[in-house]
C-alpha cells in the first residue's frame, strides 16, 4: 500500500525513490553549475568556486566568478528550470508528450518577433529595441502567440489534441514569417538574427538574469500553490471534475504559467530547442512516475541546459551556441520516443 509521512498537521505520500532521485538531480545540477563556472580560459577549481559562491572566496576569484561567469551560469540554470517546468505542465495539461512550448507557438512567436526587430531596421523597430531591449520584445511576442494559440484552441474548455494542432499551425506560420524576413533582410542583420535564433547563453548580463530570475521565482510559487489541484487532471477532465477540481480554472492558471515561463526563458536565452520537450520525459523515467514530475523536470532541464552549454564551450573543437547541442541531443530523443510508441 501507499505509505505516508506525517509531520504534525502536514502529511504527504512517501515515495522514497522519487525523493532520492530528485535529491540526486539537485546535487548533480549544483555540481555541473559549479563546474560550468570553473571551466574557462582562466580555470578555477571546484572548491574555490564553491567557496566564492558561499562568500568566502579570494578577491581575484570573486571578480571572475561573480562578475564574469555567474550571469551565464545562472541564466543557464534558470532557463533550464523554466523550460523543464513549462514542458512538464504543457505535457500534463494536454495529456500528450508532444505538447511542449516549442510546439505551442511560444518559441515561434518569440523568434518571429526578435527577427522582425533585428532585420527591419529603422523607425519604430529600432526604437522598440533601444527602449525595452530585444529580450523583452521577444518575451511579449512569445507570450502573445502562446495566448493566441490558447484562445484559438478554446471551445468550451481546452482539448489537448486541438491545442497541439493549433499550436503546430501557428508555429508554422511564425516560422514562415521568420524565414521570409530572413530572406529579404540585409546579410549583416541575418547573421545577428541567426545567433539569436539558435539559442545562446553568450554575453548574459546581470540585468537579463534578474528578469528571468524574478519571473521564474514568482511563477514557480504560483505553480506550487496550484500543483495539488493538478494531480487529478491527469485522469481527464470529467474524472477531475468528479473529484472536486474546477478543471478549467486550474488548467487556465497552469497553462498561463507555462506560457510565461517559456516566454521568460526564450527572452533570456533565445529559442533553445527541445529542452522543454525532453526534460519532463527524462524526469518521468528517472523518478519512475507515470506523469511528468514538476521539480524533477525543472532540475533535468537545468542539468541539460548547463551541460549542453558546457559541452558546447569546452568539449567540442569549435565553440557552438547551446541550442545546437540541445537540438543534437533532443532530436534523437524525440525519435526514440516516437519509435517506442510505435512498437507498443
Amino acid at each position: 500500500m501507499t505509505p505516508g509521512v506525517r509531520l504534525g498537521q502536514v502529511s504527504f505520500v512517501w515515495r522514497p525513490w522519487m525523493v532520492c532521485v530528485t535529491l540526486l538531480l539537485a546535487a548533480a545540477t549544483f555540481l555541473v553549475f559549479c563546474l560550468s563556472i570553473g571551466i574557462g580560459d582562466f580555470p578555477i577549481g571546484l572548491s574555490r568556486v564553491i567557496a566564492t559562491i558561499l562568500g568566502r572566496g579570494e578577491q581575484v576569484d570573486e571578480f571572475v566568478i561573480m562578475d564574469l561567469r555567474m550571469p551565464r551560469a545562472l541564466a543557464g540554470l534558470l532557463v533550464g528550470i523554466a523550460l523543464g517546468v513549462s514542458g512538464a505542465i504543457t505535457q500534463s495539461v494536454a495529456r500528450n508528450p508532444l505538447a511542449s512550448p516549442d510546439i505551442l507557438g511560444i518559441t515561434g512567436g518569440a523568434s518571429a518577433t526578435a527577427v522582425f526587430l533585428v532585420t527591419v531596421s529603422g523607425g519604430a523597430a529600432t526604437a522598440v529595441v533601444s527602449t525595452v531591449g530585444l529580450s523583452a520584445a521577444a518575451l511579449v511576442g512569445g507570450l502573445g502567440t502562446g495566448l493566441l494559440v490558447y484562445f484559438l484552441a478554446w471551445r468550451r474548455g481546452v482539448d489537448g489534441f486541438r491545442l497541439i494542432l493549433i499550436g503546430i499551425s501557428v508555429t508554422a506560420v511564425m516560422e514562415a514569417i521568420t524565414t521570409w524576413l530572413l530572406t529579404k533582410a540585409d546579410i549583416r542583420d541575418v547573421a545577428r538574427a541567426q545567433v539569436w535564433l539558435v539559442g545562446s547563453l553568450d554575453n548574459r548580463s546581470w540585468d537579463e538574469v534578474r528578469v528571468v530570475f524574478w519571473c521564474t521565482l514568482v511563477l514557480m510559487v504560483v505553480v506550487a500553490a496550484v500543483a495539488f489541484q493538478f494531480k487529478p487532471l491527469h485522469l481527464g477532465d470529467e474524472v477531475a471534475a468528479g473529484l472536486g477540481v474546477r478543471f478549467s480554472g486550474v488548467r487556465a492558471v497552469l497553462l498561463l504559467c507555462a506560457v510565461l515561463l517559456a516566454a521568460a526563458a526564450v527572452s533570456a536565452a533565445g529559442p533553445v530547442p527541445f529542452v522543454a520537450l525532453v526534460a519532463p520525459q527524462v524526469a518521468m523515467r528517472l523518478v519512475r512516475y507515470p506523469t511528468p514530475p514538476l521539480v524533477a523536470s525543472g532540475l533535468v532541464g537545468a542539468l541539460l541546459l548547463i551541460g549542453a552549454d558546457l559541452t558546447a564551450r569546452s568539449a567540442l573543437p569549435v565553440t557552438l551556441p547551446v541550442g545546437v547541442v540541445t537540438a543534437a541531443i533532443g532530436g534523437p530523443f524525440l525519435v526514440y520516443l516516437l519509435v517506442r510508441a510505435n512498437l507498443r
Partner: protein, 279 residues
C-alpha cells in the same frame, strides 16, 4: 409482483430523495437536448437510465453530477441547488465515474484508487492514515487488492473497470453515478461489474447509472428511467415498466417480453426482420 421492490429496498432506507432534477433544460451550444424534465433518485436503490442513442441519457446523468449546467430548472442535492455548492463539497457527497475513463500509462492501481481521496485532502494534508484505510477497503471491496502494484493499463477491461469503481468508492460517498460502466466489456465481464454494483447497493449506497443493454438494466435495477427525445417516457420498477408497447414507443423495437427464468424479472426478446420462426 409490483411489491417486490418494496421488500427488496430494505428497512433502513429513508424515503427522502437526496438527488433530484426539477424542471431542467440542458443543451450544448444552443441545441436543447433536455427541456423541462423532472426526476427524483430514490435513496438506497439502483436507478438505471435507458433509452435510444441520442435521447439524452448521458446528458441527464452529466447534469445530475454537475458536469453540465442546466439553462433552466435546478438539480437539488441534499436540499441545495447543486450549481451553488462548491465543486469540492459536491465531490464529497457524490461519486462519478464517466464513460470510458483513461489512466495515464504506467499509473498503478493503488495510485489511481488513492486519487479518489482528493476531495478529502488539502495542500498540506495530502495523505493521512484515514486515506490509507479507506483506499485499502475500496481495493478489497472491489476485489482488486492483489492488483494494487500493477499498472492500470496492463489489466483486462473488466479488471480496469473494477479499479475505476474502486477509485470512485475511495471518494467515500454513498451516492454513485456511473455512466455506462459496462461499455467495451464482454457479457461475462459486464455481469461481473454489475454484480459488484449490486454489492455496493446492498451495502447501502444509492446508484444511478446509464446502461445500453436493456436486459442487464432490467435484471440489475430497482428503478428504471426510460427516456426518449429528452423527456421521460416511463419510470418505475422494471416489472411495472417494461412492456412490449413501451419498447416500441421508446426504441421503435418490436419485442416480446417474457419472464426471465433466472431472475424473476421481465426478459426482452427482440424480434428482428430475419431469423424469426414464430410471430
Amino acid at each position: 409482483m409490483g411489491a417486490e421492490h418494496l421488500t427488496k429496498s430494505g428497512p433502513a432506507v429513508e424515503d427522502v430523495p437526496r438527488l433530484a432534477a426539477k424542471g431542467i433544460a440542458v443543451g450544448y451550444g444552443g441545441r436543447t437536448v433536455i427541456d423541462g424534465l423532472d426526476v427524483t433518485v430514490p435513496p438506497g436503490l439502483i436507478t438505471t437510465i435507458i433509452g435510444p442513442n441520442g435521447c439524452g441519457k448521458s446528458t441527464l446523468l452529466r447534469t445530475l453530477t454537475r458536469l453540465l449546467k442546466p439553462t433552466a430548472g435546478a438539480v437539488v442535492l441534499d436540499g441545495e441547488d447543486i450549481v451553488k455548492l462548491r465543486t469540492r463539497d459536491v465531490a464529497r457527497k457524490l461519486g462519478l465515474l464517466p464513460q470510458a475513463p483513461v489512466a495515464p500509462e504506467g499509473l498503478t492501481v493503488a495510485d489511481l484508487v488513492a486519487r479518489g481521496r482528493h476531495p478529502h485532502q488539502s495542500w498540506l494534508r495530502q495523505w493521512s492514515s484515514d486515506d490509507v484505510s479507506v483506499v485499502e477497503r475500496a481495493l478489497a471491496m472491489t476485489g482488486v487488492s492483489d492488483l494494487a502494484d500493477r499498472p492500470v493499463d496492463s489489466l483486462s477491461g473488466g479488471q480496469r473497470q473494477r479499479v475505476w469503481i474502486s477509485m470512485t468508492l475511495a471518494q467515500g460517498t454513498d451516492l454513485l453515478l456511473l455512466d455506462e460502466p459496462t461499455t467495451y466489456l464482454d457479457l461475462a465481464h459486464a455481469i461481473d461489474v454489475l454484480d459488484l454494483v449490486d454489492d455496493l447497493h446492498e451495502s447501502g449506497r444509492t446508484v444511478v447509472m446509464v446502461l445500453h443493454d436493456l436486459n442487464l438494466a432490467t435484471r440489475y435495477s430497482d428503478n428504471l428511467v426510460v427516456m426518449r427525445d429528452g423527456s421521460i417516457l416511463a419510470q418505475g420498477h422494471p416489472r411495472d415498466v417494461i412492456t412490449a408497447d413501451l419498447l416500441h414507443e421508446a426504441f421503435g423495437l418490436r419485442a416480446k417480453v417474457i419472464d426471465d427464468p433466472v431472475g424473476g424479472r421481465p426478459l426482452i426478446v427482440p424480434i428482428g426482420r430475419t431469423h424469426v420462426q414464430i410471430n
